[in-house]
């Protein structure tokens, strides 16, 4: 029996590689499902691969630290009043079906995003109304904003252009091609859709006529496959079933992979801040002394050195330490004696009773569970009881967006959606984003004034100073518990070369990578 099984296995092992021997293939195991290919309805890191490889934006984020490079558009200018943004498009871009891209495609794509209101569309809606985008000529497109914006440029890469002729042909009852775009690609990106199965993933075939051309070496075919179980992804990479995985791995996993010589770990600074959001609007957390007690009750070193095994760097504020505008302040330390002092000060004012603190965690994300457990551990030594409630991300994220249902504390990450301080300090602590993104109910007029001003002026040095000042103020108010800035550990087969990592796309932009034995 044993021999038959072995014989069967080796026979199968011999058979598999012959399928794709002639082509260089890259197989990526992803931690969540590619359940839609529509580039305009989702905007999450988990499903970024289909957007990056099938579609092109006006500009593109590359490298680390992230740089904005011209892509479908070659340049832009902004009108005197800061409202009208005019982009010059390349004239040599063709979609996968050979149709030439024009400014009309950009207008259609942008209006489609605003109309669908999901994905990146909801980000643009507050800035620009539908109908304010015009094709000046075939290669010029102009956007007219409602008010000047310093972050519009950072969002331009999110304007992914679809083949409007193709999409319009496939519209059903004015759905802007939604039903069609779920499982079809109408783009100009580096790869063309070859196969797609929402239960499995997708295969892309290299688009040889891509306007940006190709290097000497490249992958002929890329496959992104859904493998939900972390352990299976890791084992699969070690067995050679996959050539790459998503890069935010727990340190224990990184250690295991490092031990394998067929696997390389590409280590990069990233911008993904892990913090515990606190409800500043609800007693007792509305009191600064109480919050000061909280920020001193978390075992930062234990978390970073033991649980994360030193793979991440302490980040003292909400701003990633490696981004411009981050202030230079020392992080709060784990000091229960100090915490006790602040707690006593709080009690002197408000009485000895302290109610149970509720921490919400993200089900399935063990780092948030471990952070909550550590917080619980610290607070129990101060005599404060903690209740932990674990819910799936969608549930907790909708609870967080309402001050009545927001738990007292929620540990989670703030990832890079666009590289601008507003992505972190602005969205999380400015009043204009309450309650949907400023979930902490933090309101401070002085801070608001700085953050608002930074949104409309364009001088980067002045903006950096405003963000630095605002962040320092928020830090002094102990508005949250800021823990670390993630490093990215990209696990790839040793034969994969030239992975060009960028925090925005998580290294899944495959057009530059290639295979070399």
């Amino acid at each position: 029996m044993k021999h038959t099984v072995l014989a069967l296995c080796s026979a199968l092992a011999l058979m598999t590689p012959t399928l794709g021997a002639a082509k260089d293939r890259y197989v990526h195991a992803n931690n969540s499902a590619y359940d839609t290919l529509d580039p305009h309805t989702v905007r999450d890191v988990a499903r970024v691969a289909s957007r990056l490889n099938f579609y092109d934006g006006l500009y593109r984020w590359v490298d680390n630290p992230p740089q904005l490079i011209p892509w479908l558009a070659t340049e832009h200018s902004v009108s005197e009043d800061g409202l009208t943004w005019t982009f010059t498009l390349r004239d040599d871009v063709t979609f996968h079906d050979g149709t030439k891209m024009t400014a009309e495609d950009v207008v259609y794509s942008f209006e489609r995003m605003l109309e669908l209101k999901r994905g990146a569309g909801s980000l643009f809606l507050p800035m620009i109304d539908p109908g304010q985008t015009v094709a000046v000529d075939d290669t010029t497109v102009a956007f007219t904003l409602k008010e000047p914006s310093a972050i519009f440029a950072a969002l331009v890469p999110d304007i992914l252009v679809v083949n409007s002729t193709l999409v319009k042909e496939n519209e059903v009852d004015g759905d802007m091609g939604q039903a069609y775009m779920i499982d079809h690609v109408a783009g100009s990106g580096s790869y063309m859709l070859q196969r797609y199965d929402p239960a499995r993933g997708f295969i892309g075939e290299r688009f040889a006529d891509h306007f940006a051309g190709w290097g000497e070496k490249y992958f002929d075919e890329i496959e992104f496959r859904t493998v939900l179980e972390t352990n299976t992804r890791i084992q699969g990479l070690m067995r050679g079933d996959y050539q790459g995985l998503d890069g935010y791995l727990a340190p224990d996993q990184v250690e295991r992979l490092r031990a394998d010589e067929d696997v390389q770990i590409i280590e990069e600074e990233s911008m993904r801040v892990f913090h515990i959001a606190m409800h500043n609007g609800r007693a007792p957390l509305d009191d600064k002394n109480f919050r000061m007690a909280m920020v001193h009750a978390f075992d930062y070193d234990g978390y970073i050195n033991e649980i994360m095994q030193g793979t991440v760097a302490r980040n003292p504020t909400i701003m990633p330490g490696n981004l411009w505008g981050a202030p230079d302040v020392p992080g709060y330390d784990y000091d229960l004696a100090k915490a006790k002092e602040y707690l006593d000060a709080y009690k002197a004012e408000h009485g000895d009773e302290v109610r149970t603190i509720k921490i919400g965690t993200l089900a399935g994300f063990s780092e948030t569970e471990q952070a909550a457990a550590l917080m619980q551990n610290g607070l129990s030594q101060l005599g404060i009881t903690v209740e932990i409630e674990s819910s799936p991300w969608p549930v907790i994220s909708s609870a967080m967006q309402n001050p009545d249902t927001m738990p007292d504390m929620v540990p989670y990450w703030k990832s890079t959606y666009y590289v601008d301080p507003n992505n972190w300090v602005g969205e999380l602590y400015a009043s204009r984003y309450a309650p949907t993104r400023n979930v902490s109910s933090y309101h401070n007029d002085a801070v608001d004034e700085k953050l608002e001003k930074a949104l409309v002026i364009t001088d980067q040095d002045a903006r950096a100073e405003l963000y630095s000042d605002a962040t320092t103020q928020i830090y002094e108010d102990a508005a949250g518990i800021w823990i670390y800035n993630t490093k990215w550990f990209g696990p790839y087969a040793s034969s994969v070369k030239n992975v060009r990592f960028c925090p925005v796309g998580n290294g899944q932009d495959m057009r530059w990578a290639y295979l070399e034995e």
């Binding site: 179980e229 972390t230 352990n231 727990a250 224990d252 996993q253 295991r256 075992d299 234990g302 978390y303 050195n305 033991e306 649980i307 965690t361 089900a363 399935g364 063990s366 569970e369 471990q370 909550a372 457990a373 550590l374 619980q376 551990n377 129990s380 932990i388 409630e389 674990s390 819910s391 799936p392 549930v395």
Partner: protein, 280 residues
């Protein structure tokens, strides 16, 4: 007493009874028996994922806590879930089955059709739907299991009641002027008791497995609760290196469910002579 004697004479059943007794004792005396009773909530981050040793019988987990101690405390959760969920199911299912079987007709038919709806889907599927909506917690697991498990008892008692009602002793009692309630509670219910007891023992085992599966899927108690199913799913990231982390709770579930199944089999042999003849 004879039933107990016969139970003890059956080797399988007495092993089962011993396992369950063990579970109960462990649950009650967990704080005394556990080498590190504080480890349900306390962490020793420098001692993460240590293999089994004299200090840590089943090794340590991702927070450096003693797996053995946590398993012992987990017994409390397991037994609480099983006892309450099965208790509530019996409490709902038995009266419904009794009433439906006794009165028959439209109300009886209606009640049984209602239970058929619940039986139309595997229990775990409905339990998943309920637990998912209510959010992960021990209480909600119990609620989900109770809401989906009662029809099994209703069906069982219904069938028994139907056949008992036709028997002469019931007719005699009615002829003597006994009220419906009296007949149901004093004459019919005791005669269905053995079937209920057997079903309950096996049902406890099944409930523990379902509860563990819910925990595994992340629908059970939140961390750092030492629930067994949850511990197994936590351990998964650390396989195959930290094999002890998943092995220990898996074996604990196995032993306890085995205990209830063996006891159930033994009880069936003793209490239900009909089946006994067939299976021996």
């Amino acid at each position: 007493m004879t039933a107990l004697k016969r139970l003890l004479a059956d080797r399988a059943a007495s092993i089962g009874a011993a396992l369950i007794l063990g579970l109960i004792l462990v649950a009650i005396f967990a704080p005394v028996l556990a080498p590190y009773p504080g480890d349900v909530t306390a962490f020793h981050l420098t001692e993460r994922l240590q293999p089994p040793s004299a200090d840590h019988l089943f090794g340590t987990d991702r927070m450096g806590s003693d797996v053995f101690s946590r398993i012992l405390f987990g017994a409390r959760i397991t037994i609480t879930i099983a006892v309450i969920a099965v208790g509530v199911s019996v409490g709902i299912g038995v009266p419904i089955g009794l009433i439906a079987g006794y009165y028959g007709g439209f109300p009886g038919g209606f009640l049984m059709r209602t239970s058929d709806i619940f039986l139309a889907v595997p229990q775990i599927v409905l339990a998943i739907a309920i637990a998912q909506t209510l959010g992960p917690s021990v209480e909600n697991v119990i609620l989900a299991l109770s809401l989906t498990y009662w029809p099994f008892w209703a069906r069982l008692v219904y069938a028994e009641t139907r056949s008992l009602k036709a028997q002469t002793f019931v007719e005699a009692a009615l002829a003597l002027g006994a009220s419906d309630l009296r007949v149901m509670v004093l004459h019919i219910l005791p005669n269905t008791a053995s079937a209920i007891i057997v079903r309950t023992s096996i049902g406890m085992g099944a409930t523990i497995l379902t509860a563990a599966a819910l925990g595994f899927l992340g629908l059970g108690a939140p961390p750092p609760t030492p629930e067994w199913g949850r511990t197994i799913s936590e351990a998964r990231e650390f396989l195959p290196e930290a094999w002890w982390y998943a092995a220990a709770p898996g074996l604990a579930i196995f032993l306890v469910v085995m205990g209830f199944n063996l006891l159930g089999d033994g009880l069936r042999d003793i209490l239900d002579p009909k089946l006994r003849k067939g299976s021996r």
